[in-house]
């Protein structure tokens, strides 16, 4: 399939115009931010392309101790921003730099990654772990935690809405991300993102998410509960590893089997927890 049906290309001036154009095409148009998915899975039925890169949604701002990132901000722009490297113990810097290759990171946007939400992608796992919230403009402005959104028919929503901004909350603590892929530029065979906040000798909060299972990244609340209130350290990480191995929902796909994913998920969670704890200390 190729993008052979395109007849018109629009530069939207704002989200409202993008939406009215979308409505006018009645399903025959696509929003263009980075264009990665448009090229990877081209739709022959698209007549109109609506470019939303000029509507002021490319920014990274500090926001109440967290970050607010415009939906059309590219991964490269996030990596190059002043605010992102320090956030969540350097999570964005390490996780995003493992996503695809530089030319694709120059194209791919945070909003695009959020909306396309590929099961093998790293960014949904990271956003879920971070408790990110997304704002969008549809018939009206809406917002929801990404995790909650992924539990709904969100793809239908974004056929009639424009993602505006991703808000990453402040965390007193640190996160770490782990990924296994076949090559450096490959999608994940499995990924994990974990965060910890310490209160003296105890873990005050914990976030654990595993993705590419092969399903999309999801939090493991029972693993988080097993961490809270406990003393951080190798013994606990090993215990959580075993817990994850016993309870994580995994499956087969052509890239890897469920048994390997089950065992390796525990390993990745243990490693991410250990690294997050280490980052938190520094």
């Amino acid at each position: 399939m190729r993008l052979t049906g395109i007849r018109r290309f629009h530069f939207a001036r704002d989200a409202e115009e993008a939406l009215s154009l979308l409505a006018a095409y009645d399903g025959g148009a696509a929003l263009l931010a980075g264009g990665v998915d448009l090229l990877r899975s081209p739709r022959g039925d698209i007549e109109g392309v609506i470019d939303i890169t000029r509507i002021g949604l490319s920014y990274v701002r500090e926001s109440r101790g967290g970050l607010a990132i415009g939906a059309t901000t590219t991964l490269t722009e996030i990596l190059a921003s002043a605010a992102a490297p320090a956030y969540a113990g350097g999570l964005l810097a390490s996780a995003l730099s493992q996503v695809a290759a530089p030319p694709l990171r120059n194209m791919a946007t945070l909003g695009g990654a959020l909306v396309s939400a590929h099961p093998w992608a790293d960014i949904p796992t990271v956003l879920v772990a971070l408790g990110a919230e997304v704002r969008w403009q549809g018939e009206k402005v809406g917002k929801a935690p990404v995790e909650e959104l992924y539990g709904t028919a969100f793809r239908g929503l974004f056929r009639r809405a424009v993602a505006l901004e991703v808000v990453l909350p402040p965390w007193e603590g640190a996160f770490a991300h782990e990924k296994i892929s076949r090559t450096r530029y490959d999608i994940a065979l499995l990924n994990a993102c974990c965060g910890l906040g310490l209160d003296g000798e105890e873990i005050r909060w914990a976030r654990v998410a595993v993705g590419a299972r092969p399903n999309r990244g999801e939090r493991l609340p029972w693993a988080e509960e097993a961490l809270i209130g406990r003393k951080p350290g190798g013994e606990l990480w090993n215990e959580v590893q075993r817990l994850v191995e016993s309870r994580v929902e995994v499956g087969d796909d052509r890239r890897a089997g469920a048994a390997w994913r089950r065992r390796t998920a525990g390993v990745l969670v243990r490693r991410a927890l250990a690294r997050a704890a280490q980052r938190g200390e520094t």
């Binding site: 296994i180 090559t183 052509r254 890897a256 390997w260």
Partner: protein, 773 residues
């Protein structure tokens, strides 16, 4: 002229590639860069089924699509059995292919072709061709193909050269020397390895593509991305029923081949569409089509059994091969033969050898030539078995190789017994620097200090592995190359070669070979390759042949031209030719000191006295195929918990004789090693239960990127091959034979798991380690 007086020889210098400036400047050099107004677009309708008979083809709706100019299918194209393998005559591959058949044999097989004014029109026409199929049970593995009562894939009556069509065996080889079974039974120490390699892709940058058009004289010109322009001409003529004299094949710059373009795939289709329409026709495979409809490496299962004395002298060697040739038998016999012929002579001391193999049809994509050409699969099993044997003997694996490898002045009966689909040619090894390769490689990797240490860094365990390999330089009794060298009136030279530079740098290397003989800088030799109207014959760029076979032809032509230059100079200077020397662009008399520049000689011969064209055409047929040798060493780190393998360092020390262009030779080694690392760690085509390729593209078929490349140290260890041009042998293929076994052996050294099925994915490694690592 100042340029003629440059000192120093051309051979052994990493000179600027003759095509380098135009390539880096992005000049329109490649096949599809030629824009011929009025060209039609050709496209192919692939089979959606792995195995089916075509009951009917209805093109009526497709013909109504505006812009459609021709539709080809089995009902309107002559049926001519042929092989797509671009090989010399007599063709050793079976004639089991027709341009459009009444049966499809794999998902992606050719059903019909369309020529239309635009890509969209072609696509729409393909979508409107109605094909009724009668589905047949697909065979998706060699084991199924050989099972009693299996469906017969090639039941057509007009196929020729299939070994046993009724049992789906495209080719078979059985070469017993001595009594290997008895010797193995009696051997004090034995070792065995069975290794498997899957479907894998060449992954060239440029896809297969062609433009067919008519010149002013009405002759058909086929401009194509090929490794074998002269075979293209011969095969296209036969398949489309045209006098070969009416066909010209032009090979422009090529964006990589690795064997995949030793096939004649799109050319006859484009030619026939051009003939039917009278219009130029452009065709190019999409990347997906390259994956499924061009060619792949032959998936194989190879078992090696070794028997040795207690001091490590090999006494018996058995190799059993089951090769999957896919739906057609392109290169089936020759790749199968090379599994043995390029591996077994390396350890020539064993008096008892048995090579046995079968290449079997399946309803999967067609395998073909791929760098290494069977040797890669053979060495995987052979060198893992050698590692196992060394362990059983308590011997250093390097020492085991030392005690058994072939030396200068020695031979192997295999050279004579197995050739290119027939008997081979007896030969002795005249150059071999493997001893030095082993010494240098072991030293650079830190073999003595690091091997067996299992150094740990958290979950990572380090290990070292090694392997040896050889290849050949051209095909004895088959390959022939010719070169024409012309001296121009200004004293510069034109070198016309049928040899095919695929991006390897062979144009530069051939210019260096000529320049060395002529005593001129390389840029005084203008190379043109290759065009069947203007350049002399060459079998093509395959079998590691160009430097050795084409290079020898060039050297012969240059020697002849050199003699003619001295004759002209002798007459001009009033001296005997034997008193003259040619160096640095000047002919000088050793007796009188009198001299003439080459431009003065060119001018004189062209315009002044005793006018003649100083030129020569020479050819070289390949009487023997001197093997290059290589020793491979690598360090890996294995994550015991996840099964991830990292190649930390790779050292390859190779003997290619005298390296004509050292940087190009090192590049060949580095590229081959990285391709081999891809085989070892990540490359594998996957198929659905119905035979559809699930990862036909780079999104999900992974090749190593620059960031995945370890530090690769490529070391050229010189020897001098007396039969080679300026002492040279080949280098292009040998480098891919080592990474699979070296990495497998290194993983074993690190964690004690024998990886025998490629690629060594995290999942496979992790489970080889057991439940609790």
């Amino acid at each position: 002229m100042a340029v003629e007086t440059q000192q120093g020889g051309a051979v052994g210098q990493s000179v600027r590639k003759v095509d380098g400036p135009s390539l880096v400047a992005g000049k329109p050099l490649f096949t599809l860069d030629l824009d011929i107004p009025g060209s039609l677009v050709g496209a192919i309708l692939p089979s959606p089924h792995a195995h089916a008979r075509i009951v009917s083809v209805d093109t009526s709706a497709a013909e109504q699509v505006p812009g459609v100019r021709a539709i080809l299918h089995h009902g309107n194209v002559p049926r001519v059995p042929y092989t797509t393998a671009g090989q010399g005559w007599p063709e050793p591959s079976p004639y089991d292919t027709v341009l459009f058949d009444t049966k499809v044999r794999f998902v992606g097989d050719r059903v019909a072709a369309v020529a239309a004014e635009t890509e969209d029109a072609a696509a729409e026409a393909l979508a409107r061709i109605r094909v009724e199929y009668e589905l047949l049970p697909p065979i998706l593995s060699p084991e199924e193909a050989l099972a009693p009562g299996a469906p017969i894939i090639h039941d057509e009556p007009d196929a020729e050269g299939i070994y046993d069509a009724s049992h789906n065996i495209a080719a078979a080889v059985d070469i017993p020397i001595g009594d290997a079974a008895a010797a193995l039974a009696a051997a004090p120490v034995t070792a065995e390895a069975t290794c498997e390699i899957p479907y894998s892709q060449h992954a060239t940058i440029e896809p297969h593509c062609v433009i067919a058009y008519f010149d002013d004289a009405g002759r058909l010109v086929v401009r194509t991305s090929t490794q074998v322009p002269f075979h293209v001409r011969r095969i296209v003529a036969r398949v489309v029923g045209l006098d070969p004299a009416r066909i010209r094949v032009v090979k422009p710059r090529i964006g990589g081949g690795f064997g995949s373009k030793q096939e004649v795939l799109l050319e006859p289709v484009a030619a026939l569409l051009a003939l039917r329409t009278g219009r130029p026709v452009r065709m190019a495979y999409t990347r997906q089509e390259v994956f499924v409809a061009s060619r792949t490496r032959h998936p194989m299962k190879v078992t090696v059994r070794l028997g040795a004395t207690k001091d490590g002298a090999l006494h018996a060697l058995e190799m059993d091969v089951l090769s999957n040739t896919g739906a057609y038998g392109a290169h089936a016999l020759t790749v199968l033969s090379n599994v043995g012929s390029k591996t077994l002579p390396l350890y020539n001391k064993a008096p008892h050898v048995h090579f046995h193999g079968r290449a079997v049809y399946t309803n999967l994509p067609v395998a073909g030539a791929y760098r290494g050409y069977g040797a890669t699969q053979g060495y995987f099993a052979l060198e893992v078995a050698m590692d196992k044997l060394a362990e059983k003997l308590g011997l250093d694996p390097v020492e085991l190789r030392r005690r058994n490898y072939i030396r200068v002045g020695e031979t192997s009966p295999i050279f004579e017994k197995i050739g290119e689909g027939r008997e081979g040619t007896a030969q002795i090894v005249r150059s071999c620097a493997l001893e030095e390769c082993l010494r240098i490689g072991a030293e650079r990797i830190g073999w003595r200090e690091k091997r067996g240490q299992r150094r740990e860094e958290g979950p990572w365990v380090h290990g070292l592995g090694m392997a040896c390999a050889m290849q050949g330089s051209g095909i004895t009794g088959v390959d022939m190359a010719a070169a024409t060298l012309v001296m121009q009136d200004d004293g510069s030279f034109r070198l016309l070669v049928g040899a095919t530079d695929l991006g390897t740098g062979s144009d530069t290397i051939l210019a260096q070979i000529a320049a060395q003989e002529l005593g001129v800088p390389v840029d005084r030799v203008l190379v043109y390759s290759s065009d069947t109207d203007f350049t002399p014959f060459d079998t093509g760029a395959y079998a590691s042949s160009t430097t050795y076979v084409s290079g020898n032809a060039v050297l012969r032509a240059a020697s002849d031209v050199r003699a003619q230059i001295l004759d002209v100079a002798a007459a001009a200077l009033g001296e005997r030719a034997s008193a003259l020397e040619l160096a640095a662009g000047v002919v000088r008399s050793r007796k009188s000191g009198k001299s003439l520049t080459l431009s003065e000689i060119g001018h004189r011969a062209t315009y002044v006295t005793d006018q003649r064209q100083i030129a020569a055409t020479a050819s070289f047929a390949c009487p023997e195929s001197p093997p290059p040798f290589a020793a491979f060493f690598c360090e890996v780190a294995v994550d015991r918990e996840t099964g991830v393998v990292r190649v930390e360092r790779f050292v390859v020390a190779a003997d290619c004789g005298v390296a004509i262009h050292p940087q190009a030779a090192e590049g060949q080694l580095e590229g081959a090693v990285l391709q081999g690392i891809g085989h070892a760690l990540c490359e594998e085509m996957l198929f659905s239960p119905r035979g559809r390729c699930l990862n036909a593209g780079f999104f999900d078929y992974k090749i190593p990127s620059s960031l995945d490349a370890p530090a690769i140290e490529a070391i050229l260890v010189p020897s001098e091959e007396p039969t080679g041009p300026w002492g040279a042998k080949s280098i292009s293929e040998v480098g891919i034979n080592g990474p699979l076994p070296a990495i497998s052996n290194a993983i074993y050294d690190a964690v004690g798991a024998r990886m025998v099925r490629a690629p060594f994915t995290p999942e496979r490694v992790r489970f080889a380690l057991g439940v609790i690592p």
